[in-house]
Subunit: 336 residues, 2 copies
Amino acid sequence: MAKITDVARRAGVSPSTVSYALSGKRPISDATRRRVEEAARDLGYHPHAAARAGAGARASVLALAAPLRSGVHVPVVMRLAVSVVTTARAHAHDVLLLTQEEAEEGLNRAVRTASVDGLLLTDVELHDPRLPTLRSLDRPTVLIGVPANAYGLTCVDLDFRAAGEACVNHLAELGHRTVALVGSPPEVYLRRTAYAHHLMHGFTTAAARHGLASSVHPGGPDPATAPRLAERLLHEHPALTAVVVHNEPLLAPLIAAFEHLGLRVPADLSVTAVCPDDLAATPRLPVTSVSLPADELGARAVDLLIRKLHGTAVPETTLLPPRLTERASTSRRMPA
Amino acid sequence: MAKITDVARRAGVSPSTVSYALSGKRPISDATRRRVEEAARDLGYHPHAAARAGAGARASVLALAAPLRSGVHVPVVMRLAVSVVTTARAHAHDVLLLTQEEAEEGLNRAVRTASVDGLLLTDVELHDPRLPTLRSLDRPTVLIGVPANAYGLTCVDLDFRAAGEACVNHLAELGHRTVALVGSPPEVYLRRTAYAHHLMHGFTTAAARHGLASSVHPGGPDPATAPRLAERLLHEHPALTAVVVHNEPLLAPLIAAFEHLGLRVPADLSVTAVCPDDLAATPRLPVTSVSLPADELGARAVDLLIRKLHGTAVPETTLLPPRLTERASTSRRMPA
DNA sequence: GTGAAAGCGCTAACAT
DNA sequence: ATGTTAGCGCTTTCAC
């Protein structure tokens, strides 16, 4: 493994010149720079990040803390992760993946021991226990999710409150008077996971504003529970004509279950979802949905974090406006 | 951030004593160790990995190179990733996630620049272009997947060849005479991805050995293509009574498509899958399957890598024997 | 425009 | 059993 002194010797300059020539942190004559670059290339030289970090520079590593708790839809997290890694690479950073439950201590360790420059947190809770640790860590951080008190934090997320409202607005415009939300699994609400909470909040307040009868039903993550849930919904709310589904694994099975019970979608029942676009745009029954732009969220989060690393001021909370796409699963309420 | 000298001062000892007391690399009196540990705890001291690495020690970081190319089933990779991170943490290591396509150069960079101690590769191809780079990198590596020439490498995977054979054996015993394999998407075969190749190989040879008529059909990753594929299979192979599915996203839709075409599973058509257990053990129609133990693969791979880091000799290739579980989707062939 | 030298925080000989 | 010292490879004052 070539080191900086090897490059220096080969280029006939001092190590510091190599460092400067490669980093561009001070003016170097064109001739020298050229020789240094060539020598570096010949030797396949890559500066050793650890040593660099020792000398006070950054290690160019971001940590992604993605707890993967029960009830979260893994594919969405994965897409976020991929988008984070890709965007980080575009900024010449690598990504350390933290999934552990040992949340607080894990963050500490990552920052010290693995010399992480900045942190990205997912699965943010309204009162996230990691926040105090985070504040003490004095490393730039971006939360993917908006806690109850975002003061002094940088957060980015889909505007889930507005997303919930958008779904209800759409249904209200179509004349529906009784709506239900099929949300995330109960444990997600119990943890007060931010996104689930915000969506529910938006759903409920919009329903109230429109004077709609509304109810909220956490849905199990298991598709097999869909038929029971469908039955229960219809039984408990006979006037129900529209459902908002914020639960990826349940979306398709739930629609199937309703149809199995003899309801036609959208003729008898309108369905709106909040989920990644490709999940909604299925050929059998394209579902009207608010897009959950996991890729964009990841990219935005990294962009913000990189800017913070550079010392640039960034907005406190970035909320992506919901984008509702009308597809075949919603229609005007048929007068009964 | 407390450093080793802070701890030393507080404990009234020299820095090296702190280092030794914490690492246990040389005998320290109980009294001293206790004082050091207490001082470290009080100060919230974590050794700085970058500096450590500078001094010749390891950084305790593993890299997981998971390309996520087109055609791979993301949830399986994700489970592997989670299992890798969890197991790595159990060995006090962190995991750097590499997804980039810039494969060879990416590995180089990770090792140098991010001071990675060891590498884990997924999505291994029969003639994987990363192998030469890997050999030159001189970092312990474990492949999750078995290339054509595994000489000098450490590999771990499900024994996909045996898995293919197990499926065919099972079907042959049930009296089936014409079988088809619905495999991974075409691009996976074009890349000569190891697992897909090995499974197909096992399927084909076992079919030949039993004297069965067999055919292989790459399946698109898109569930929407299932109906077309089902039709084609039945049309091209009128005598077909059994199918092996090695394609997670297609499994359920394909069965649905067959049933839609009027076939009863398993009365008219037996279906075997190679997939994670929870995907097969669906309540509607539990599918006979060979388990794809993503968790165990990840854990094994990390264990092997850690042992290599410790300088322990490890077996060259570890193949997990296939475990076939009979469920409701296969039955004895009905004489026509 | 370039070099020499100090030092980042840690570990591992080399002492005692 | 503990302390002293010399680096690891790099960046960054200083100095010219």
